[in-house]
């Protein structure tokens, strides 16, 4: 408690949630991936096990309680077991975010023993053909097996399905599959448009009609199934007129650490210009979170311009997403153009209008869509330099 008359502390609280992107290596090639386009540049500079444990320990000392172990595909590393058990002993609730590829009986047993709290399984679609197309590998059957493994080890079955134009019409099959797998929570999150998904935006943005139908189907299913499965339907923010409260505010609760040790206030911030993000190899988490210029750049509201600056919603949505503002308007300090008070809002509505027009069928898109793979990432890195 603060004493009356004491100098107010400006030290931010938190972080509460640490997301450890332990590798960007991934056997899948999802066209909506939010990993940075130049992810392949991190392959040779991944943090070691010891370095990760140091990150966990320092963050825990600041009060972090939730740890996400994600990627890429985190199971591409063979030290996840150590991370899970060490982090659990530190007092974290540990969440594993995986495509399921590489999750074996042996590994899940070790995770259970180590105290892993939950496994969140991502699924691209319910029909094998489209699933394979969208992730570009033969993984659907494997994932169904993994889902069974998760249930057998007494974990809640948490499914994460990314929806978009090419799979959203299959939502009834997706929901039936979720029910058949015994899912407890299903997050039906429409693709957000960053990184690889932004590259593929015109192919991935659903039409208003598709969204309406999908939401109707979800609601009907919800009524039918009652409480045994919780369903969350998340619409694309392009269809909103107010921005999302991205990360609950910059440097507020969330700390993302990339495979190469870059500390970021969100998954995407690496792309932002004029900021030097600190690296956990060179700085401790306390300094990074509390003192580093990058984590203070968009904290609070002193950085805001109009229309955010005088907007009475600035404390609820924090002006939206800095990365989206940068990607679409070129300036991260602009209002997120999703907001209809933004002078750049037309950049959103124009895309939404485009999405109402008919498009070629999935089969024709398949050869031209931009897959997340090492070759494409490396060519993008070469382009940049």
């Amino acid at each position: 408690m603060e004493k009356i008359g004491s100098v107010p502390t400006i030290k931010p609280k938190g972080p509460l949630w640490v997301n450890a992107e332990i590798t960007y290596k991934c056997p899948l090639h999802c066209v909506f991936c939010y990993n940075p386009l130049d992810y392949a540049s991190t392959f040779k500079s991944e943090l070691s096990t010891e370095e990760w444990l140091k990150v966990f320990k320092q963050s825990r000392e600041l009060g972090a309680v939730q740890l996400g172990i994600s990627g890429g595909e985190p199971l591409m590393r063979d030290d996840v077991e150590i991370m899970v058990s060490e982090a659990t002993q530190m007092g974290y609730y540990v969440n594993l975010l995986t495509s399921g590829i590489g999750l074996t009986e042996k590994r899940i047993t070790a995770f259970k023993e180590g105290g892993l709290g939950q496994i969140q399984l991502s699924f691209q679609d319910s029909t094998k053909e489209l699933n394979d197309f969208l992730s570009s590998t033969k993984t659907f059957e494997l994932k169904s097996k993994v889902a069974k493994l998760i249930k057998e080890h007494d974990y809640p079955m948490v499914l994460n399905v990314v929806l978009h134009r090419l799979n959203i019409d299959h939502i009834d099959q997706i929901l039936e599959m979720a029910e058949a797998m015994g899912a407890d929570h299903v997050e039906l999150a429409n693709s957000q448009f960053y990184a690889w998904a932004l590259k593929n935006r015109s192919y991935l943005m659903p039409s208003a009609e598709q969204l309406r139908k999908a939401e109707e189907t979800t609601n009907r299913f919800r009524e039918k199934i009652g409480n045994k499965m919780k369903l969350y339907f998340i619409v694309p923010d392009y269809y909103a007129d107010r921005p999302k409260a991205c990360m609950n505010g910059w440097g507020s609760v969330f700390l993302n650490v990339a495979p190469d040790g870059l500390a970021l206030p969100c998954h995407e911030a690496r792309m932002l210009p004029d900021l030097t993000f600190p690296n956990v190899r060179e700085n401790d988490i306390g300094w990074i979170w509390n003192e580093s210029p990058a984590f203070n750049a968009y904290r609070g509201d002193s950085w805001m311009k109009e229309p955010c600056k005088s907007c009475d919603e600035r404390t609820t949505d924090f002006g939206g997403c800095r990365c989206q503002a940068f990607q679409l308007t070129g300036d991260p300090a602009n209002a997120d153009p999703v907001c209809d008070k933004s002078e750049h809002h037309h950049l959103i509505t124009e895309q939404v209008e485009l999405a109402q027009k008919p498009q070629p069928p999935a089969e024709e898109i398949k050869p031209i869509i931009f897959y997340r793979d090492d070759k494409n990432s490396k060519s993008l890195i070469a382009e940049k330099s």
């Binding site: 408690m1 609280k13 509460l16 949630w17 600041l62 009060g63 309680v65 939730q66 996400g68 007092g91 609730y93 969440n95 709290g117 939950q118 969140q120 007494d154 809640p156 948490v158 929570h185 009652g226 409480n227």
Partner: protein
Amino acid sequence: MSESTLIRDKPLSLKKQFRFQWEQAQESYVLLYPEGLIKLPGSSGEIMKLIDGSKSVEMIIAHLEEQFPGVDLKNDVLDFLEHAYGKNWIGTDD
């Protein structure tokens, strides 16, 4: 949704996805679950501390009455336990 009530004479335990612990940074007991945190300050934390898989509602009330003699706390404890049960944080395992 059927309104099921809390059974008073069966041992209460925390549901398996939840973890209960003291958090110095929050200066409070907290309940952790997938991707979330619920602060349980003051008496709610003290009540939750007693949920260990062996004590029933009746036993928890008796325990607290012994700890705080002369305080009429029964209804508050019941309210909190009903709330926690309704939220599916706790249950009587069968």
